[in-house]
């Protein structure tokens, strides 16, 4: 009985394990909250920290690219279109499976994995 009361008291003052991203409850107006966040008037809770070596959205440096097509060859999801005129590639985020094989294969490091993962949208890219 005493043990139980001790545990109860402990739980009462412990911080909840839940990560309250982006806010504790539903705001009165989401549009307003989003606007305020953009202007820096309101803050949202941060997401759970991402682990070391996380593979997020691929960043493409167009300047560096030499148009060797290796990334097109290696990509399992057909993410890259080749732009014949410029001899560059175009990356399609909505096809990517974030395996980072293209990052490994690119000879001039034009492709890098970023830590970006909040990527929902109203259309595909």
């Amino acid at each position: 009985m005493f043990e139980m009361a001790k545990e109860l008291l402990k739980q009462l003052f412990r911080k909840p394990f839940t990560n309250r991203f982006p806010s504790k409850h539903v705001p009165k107006s989401t549009t307003k909250l989003l606007k305020n966040v953009k202007e820096g008037m309101a803050k949202v809770n941060r997401p759970v920290p991402i682990p070391e070596g996380f593979r997020g959205k691929i960043a493409y440096d167009k300047e560096k690219c030499i148009g060797c097509k290796l990334c097109i060859k290696v990509c399992p999801a057909n993410c890259y279109d080749f732009l014949e005129k410029e001899r560059k590639v175009k990356y399609h985020l909505s096809r990517c499976t974030f395996c980072a094989q293209c990052v490994d294969v690119c000879p001039v490091n034009a492709l890098t994995s970023t830590k970006e993962f909040l990527l929902s949208d109203y259309k595909t890219h």
Binding site: T18, P22, I50, A77, D121
Partner: protein, 142 residues
Amino acid sequence: MSLKDLNRSLWVFHVNSGSCNGCDIEIVATLTPRYDIERFGMKLVGTPRHADVLLVTGPVTRDMEKKLRRVFDQTPDPKVVMVIGNCGSTGGVFYESYNLVGPVDRIIPVDVYVAGCPPRPEAIIEGVVKVWAKLEKRGEKK
């Protein structure tokens, strides 16, 4: 349709149209105490007839096409469709499969695409925020 028309917590039905199960696990992870999407009043329901939101994962296989259409029709209006994962948005890694009739937006209209393969639970929550914002915007226009 706007948020006012719904005027209640969003209940969610999850359809797996041939996914690899990665995104399905992430949806379940979103329900765990760590992320706890139920604090927004959202929960998974057992039938499309109780749902306001359809979560569709997977690239829609030949077998699932009819069933997906039927689930969509069974969901009462007003409804919102969210695609979770890249294979549902574009075909993703399954793009050249002989058994593919999707992606999802070729079968049913889609409101929000959550990119990722699979997306992290926060990305799914962000998708929900986008749904909310979209509904509110529609409400204002009226």
